[in-house]
Symmetry: C2
Subunit: 166 residues, 2 copies
Amino acid sequence: MSSDAHPPEASWIEVSTENCSVQAALRVVGNKWALLVLRELFNGVRRFDEICVHAGISEAVLTRRLKELVTEGVVEARPYREAGQRPRQEYVPTAAGWDLFPVVVALLQWGDRHRAPQAGGSWRVSHRVCDTPVEVRVVCPDHPLEHIDHHGTRTAPGPSAITRTP
Amino acid sequence: MSSDAHPPEASWIEVSTENCSVQAALRVVGNKWALLVLRELFNGVRRFDEICVHAGISEAVLTRRLKELVTEGVVEARPYREAGQRPRQEYVPTAAGWDLFPVVVALLQWGDRHRAPQAGGSWRVSHRVCDTPVEVRVVCPDHPLEHIDHHGTRTAPGPSAITRTP
């Protein structure tokens, strides 16, 4: 343990945010267009022109966002060619990209609950087996049936916590 | 069902994104600072000066972000007064704000997994009862023990889907 490793009783304000994982994730998706591009890819809209039109993104912005998402390893460009057409690319989520699926579904769930409570959402994600709409939950792997909210959690510095220098 | 309600066999590209719940949620948190402010509030850092210093946000940006979060109903300003000090405000998540907890924990989980795989994270969120680190999962309420990923889901237009006009 290095001398700047954090004592276990520390609170969040005493821990440096420089290596915060939320922040690291937001370097990839801390931008609404990045998340809207992922929404398109997750739902099978994967061609440049189609993403532009469907999500209402300008070509310049989409080019930049896709480049960043590819650089960050969450999206992969794959060549495809339709009969009689020139070769083109489509964009597919990588395994790391699919790990952002819960983030997008959590946003969908929040929007359905708080911005479309009467109407129901315009898009539903359901369990393939029984078609029940899925939920995003905070779960304890050792007590998977318990529905945990923030009252059921505690927070503490993790293994790579660094003490903040004031 | 109105004439523009969507037939059930439709795919995402045929549905308008204008009333998409992901998009509605991103009007509130589609900005990295909004999510970093929520990270601070969720972890008990709730005073203006402390949030500025800890998250590394300028006063001008924090003022703007807090105003938006209050307007959107996810954060509430509460007066407090310490002995001998002038009255001040602290910022606390509302119930709708706490409903964004899974979004922030999902980002934390992604960052821990993909940007700090060796080190472990700098901040852990665990189950209060047993201290096991929590996970954010996509869950079917009717099959809560099943670990669902995107392969286990299907998507379809929801009740308020509107056909996209090309």
